[in-house]
């Protein structure tokens, strides 16, 4: 039998960190299962909540933006479908981002008592958001059948945008998770960021409307938001060419997310051994 050797030293990061993470995949599975099964305990409607919420949000948005504000959607695409597509991927991102940001503090009882690669906690919280996302995607499929709207070959790109959204939630969530350990101000800030993000992203409206204002000063700033490319791309994969999509925005998303992901993983790894001292 191979002996397991460990050296503990200040500032020394585990040599086999990623292998350790892989070894702990069962823990990841069990923590995710815990969060999923605990989620709707003592509720009457149970899991149906993950259907009811997006459905009602979609209906309200449809009413407010399409009927009251009379915003134009992409021609040839039913407005509710456009909203639901944007809402689905945005909810996935924002839930995952929120959960990741609070994952360390929410599991403080574990952080102070046992060791495991701390990255397990944000990973397991994103799994829960992903399950919710799959349910919401199922709802979208039902709605496309209702509207007799069939996707084409663009759907092959769908996984790419889903993964990109997931990476985006890590890129921003991990930094906040680390900061949240020491500064609980972050907990107050997150819902606010999510709310701003909702309006800054093409969810209730089409980016076509943004493009019509191409000369305005805020136009380039709008595209700095990496979620714009992801949401537009996601809609484009599901709804085809009729959905407005500027491929350049995805390049921007990939670059921004790549940079932030690198920084946040570095930051997380650097701080994770002292979470317990600050929590």
């Amino acid at each position: 039998m191979k002996t397991h050797e460990v050296v503990i030293e200040s500032g020394r990061s585990e040599k086999n960190y990623w292998r350790d993470l892989w070894k702990n995949r069962e823990l990841l599975y069990i923590l995710s299962m815990r969060d999923i099964s605990v989620r709707y305990k003592q509720t009457i409607l149970g899991t149906s909540w993950s259907l009811i919420r997006p459905l009602i949000t979609m209906m309200i948005m449809f009413f407010v933006f399409s009927k009251v504000a009379k915003l134009k959607g992409d021609p040839g695409i039913p407005y509710p479908l456009m909203i639901l597509a944007g809402l689905t991927i945005w909810t996935f991102f924002s839930n995952s981002f929120t959960q990741i940001s609070t994952s360390i503090t929410a599991n403080s009882n574990l952080v102070t008592k046992v060791y495991f690669p701390r990255l397990i906690m944000p990973l397991s919280s994103s799994v829960v958001s992903f399950i919710d996302f799959l349910v919401a995607l199922g709802l979208f499929v039902v709605l496309t059948i209702w509207y007799q709207f069939w996707p084409d070959w663009h759907i092959l790109f769908l996984p790419f945008f889903i993964i990109l959204a997931l990476l985006a939630s890590f890129a921003f969530g991990l930094i906040f998770a680390v900061l949240n350990v020491k500064f609980r101000d972050i907990g107050q800030l997150i819902p606010f960021i999510v709310q701003i993000g909702f309006y800054a992203c093409p969810i209730a409206y089409s980016s076509r409307l943004v493009e019509e204002n191409a000369g305005e000063w805020w136009h380039p700033i709008y595209y700095l938001n990496p979620m714009v490319g992801i949401i537009d791309g996601f809609k484009w994969s599901l709804l085809g060419d009729k959905a407005f999509f500027n491929p350049n925005s995805v390049i921007n998303s990939v670059v921004v997310i790549g940079i932030f992901l690198f920084i946040s993983i570095y930051f997380f790894r650097k701080r994770e051994n002292s979470f317990v001292d600050d929590i």
């Binding site: 050797e5 500032g11 923590l31 003592q42």
Partner: protein, 423 residues
């Protein structure tokens, strides 16, 4: 072969003392950082609300090594650094300086039922907690029946643990931990919880574990358990490892240290002594007659309580009344002297408390000076506080011995009739 080698381990915590008003967290930190970046010095405003950082060394220059199969006891007062050491060893927090080399799979049990989720059932929590402690699902499945059996919770397997009694909760937690199979096991004070019956069971389990040749590190305030389980002991005080070696010796010096300073209180002149215009206390002292060259009081040790006081009255009929109280305030016994007539001067009294009388625990002695057998002149409450350590011989049980007194009374059993089953 050394399985753990710790070299110069120190752990520093920084304690913030806030000066001036303002209680923001991120504001201070951000403000300071931004100022550093932009002008490299503190603003006068910042100076006014200065946060003072004070270093606190939870561990300081700790060196030790643990051999394969060692059962190490870790003792010391609260805040001596024991728990910090366990946290550093279990990789929960990193040391500020120093280096630890560990050979072997390590499992640490700093709490019973770590990560239990109140909404989940006993069954689900077994898998959750097992995974958190580093078991695979396959291992848990194999041990599942043994865990349920050990914890005695068969009937409640599918009940959410929030409906469990605290005893059941602890039993389930320990049962899972007891079925871990690491090469090195780290345990913090788990025996402080649970009823006597369960403590017995858990200590038995720990003996089995150690008998199988695995290495154990065990923090406890229960000296009986440490003495029974551990072959070597580390004694910490204020972050430093001040003594290590053979358990009985280290435990003895720990026990003598905690009780030493408390065995005498003395005042030199009547002016500074406690009391009133009529009587003043000069001295209260406990004089143990140690057995086996020990340097601390245990349940076998007889001791005398000596009391000296100044009588400032010309002539008075005085007697002493001694109260022995438990730390929870109950009086265990009260003895008084005969009343006697005394003139002005220094008076002493002495009471012998026999060995094999008080149970182990912490006690305080209070002394009352009474005039004419009815009027209390002065009552010295909490005159002295002292500990009685445990001692057992030929008993395999290490739970807390119940009761305030532990007298050795005549008690015997005998066989009355043999072979009643085959008649």
């Amino acid at each position: 072969m050394a399985v753990i080698t710790a070299e110069d381990i120190s752990k520093r915590y920084i304690i913030d003392h806030k000066r001036g008003k303002g209680s923001s967290s991120i504001k201070d930190a951000l403000g300071e950082q931004i100022r550093k970046i932009f002008n490299g010095k503190k603003s006068p405003h910042q100076e006014a609300e200065h946060i003072e950082h004070e270093d606190f060394w939870a561990l300081r220059d700790v060196n030790f090594s643990v051999e394969q199969g060692d059962r190490i006891g870790i003792v010391g007062h609260n805040g001596a650094g024991k728990s910090t050491l366990l946290k550093v060893l279990s990789k929960i927090t990193e040391p500020t300086t120093g280096r630890i080399h560990i050979r072997g799979r390590i499992a640490s049990l700093l709490e019973v039922g770590t990560g239990f989720h109140p909404e989940l059932t006993g069954r689900e929590n077994i898998f959750l907690n097992g995974a958190i402690l580093g078991m695979t699902r396959e291992e848990i499945r194999k041990q599942f029946d043994a865990i349920v059996d050990f914890g005695g919770i068969e009937k409640f397997l599918d009940t959410p643990v929030k409906r469990y009694s605290s005893g059941m909760y602890v039993r389930l937690g320990f049962a899972i931990a007891a079925h871990l199979d690491p090469e090195i096991l780290i345990i913090d004070e788990v025996l402080a919880v649970g009823d006597a019956e369960f403590q017995k069971k858990s200590l038995g389990k720990m003996r089995d574990v150690s008998a199988s040749g695995r290495t154990i590190l065990f923090v406890s305030h229960n000296m009986t358990a440490v003495q029974a389980l551990c072959n070597r002991t580390l004694y910490f005080e204020r972050g430093r490892l001040i003594e290590q070696g053979e358990t009985n010796q280290v435990v003895a010096s720990y026990l003598s240290k905690i009780s030493k300073t408390k065995l005498i209180r003395e005042w030199n002149t009547p002016e500074e002594a406690p009391g009133n215009d009529l009587v003043r206390v000069k001295k209260i002292e406990i004089l143990p007659e140690y057995v086996d060259n020990q340097i601390f009081i245990d349940v076998r040790t007889p001791f005398r309580v000596r009391f000296e006081y100044w009588n400032l009255m010309d002539k008075a009929n005085l007697n002493l009344s001694l109260h022995m109280n438990s730390m929870t305030g109950e009086c265990i016994f009260n003895v008084g002297t005969q009343s006697q007539s005394y003139s002005k001067g220094l008076i002493s009294g002495e009471c012998l408390v026999p060995g094999h009388f008080l149970n182990d625990g912490t006690y305080n002695v209070s002394m009352m000076i009474v005039k004419d057998t009815v009027t209390p002149l002065y009552n010295m409450e909490e005159g002295l506080i002292f500990d009685v350590a445990d001692y057992r011989d030929g008993v395999a049980w290490y739970g807390k011995w119940p009761g305030y007194v532990r007298p050795q009374l005549k008690f015997h059993t005998e066989m009355m009739e043999e072979n009643i089953l085959n008649d």
